[in-house]
Subunit: 186 residues, 2 copies
């Protein structure tokens, strides 16, 4: 499984009121999602934010764990953060994947809210394992990925559901569950 | 599904060196795990720590979201934290569940490392849905639940595995994935 990438989007996403905004990067997101990505064999985890101040913050964390004191203090954490990378825009990530994989890049959007047409997990699991093309799963922060990104995606995965009608998982939980449904071994 | 409880153990757990210690409670654990528990229909989420200073910290957070300003600011978060409760010991949680459910309480241990005998997710999923007894899933912080707790458990769930041999998920990710494997709807 060398064709799967994930991205955590900080722009364009919605805020509580439905405006398109740039959210702040959260330290815990970087760690938890890197570890989940590494566990499920994801090739690279992209943190997407256009804000220079936020980008400095992310670079500091990545440097600490990839090359600084953290790399020696906790080599397991280094292994996870070694697949993590910073980009200004989702388009930059797609461009890099296309160059690297020399394959078509399928954009897969995720959301907590249902939309008209969505792919079932089982269906995508099969498609990704059989196909040699690249897949980039996109996760939104804040109140979710802006429609302009969802509209241009190749796939939209069905929302995660439990037995209740409560669907307010953290993005850290959502990424973990989606990766497990698509790539977990049972 | 009104018979499932979860506990996040801060004592007795291992540290990096294998000593039995009490870990500090993390704010993000309370939020992420409450939200996942609520999503998957868990009846109550117990935070277990015997340290009074830590207990004050947890009480402050729970009060803010259950009754204070947070309850009004984010009612969805209130719904999640309403099922969250603080106990000094795992035994206290078991006692409360036994009284409340008037049923036998099955202790289910989890770990990132395999042990001799373990239950498969599919098997437990079936057993829990068919059975009227109570189930308490226990998750460890730090480097995992101490053997003394695992030894007296009724079940030990197989470790979560992805396609890689890297198994260093955060406890927030692990709880989310275990709940989805046991109670998720696909």
């Amino acid at each position: 499984m060398n064709n799967v990438y994930i991205a955590l989007l900080h722009y364009p996403v919605y805020n509580k009121k439905g405006d398109v905004v740039t959210t702040a990067v959260t330290n815990m997101d970087i760690h938890d999602i890197s570890r989940a990505a590494k566990t499920y064999g994801v090739k690279r985890f992209y943190i997407i934010t256009p804000l220079e101040q936020q980008r400095q913050f992310v670079r500091r964390i990545l440097h600490h764990w990839q090359e600084g004191y953290g790399a020696c203090y906790n080599p397991w954490r280094k292994k996870a953060l070694d697949i993590t990378s910073l980009k200004s825009t989702l388009e930059d990530a797609v461009r890099e994947i296309k160059e690297e994989s020399e394959a078509n890049v399928n954009l897969v959007a995720t959301s907590a809210s249902p939309r008209g047409e969505s792919s079932r997990f089982e269906e995508l699991r099969e498609k990704i394992s059989e196909n040699k093309e690249a897949y980039l799963l996109v996760f939104g922060t804040g109140w979710g990925i802006a429609d302009e990104v969802i509209d241009k995606s190749d796939y939209f995965i069905e929302p995660i559901r439990g037995p209740s009608n409560y669907n307010h998982l953290s993005v850290r939980s959502a990424v973990s569950i989606v990766l497990d449904r698509l790539f977990g071994e049972r």
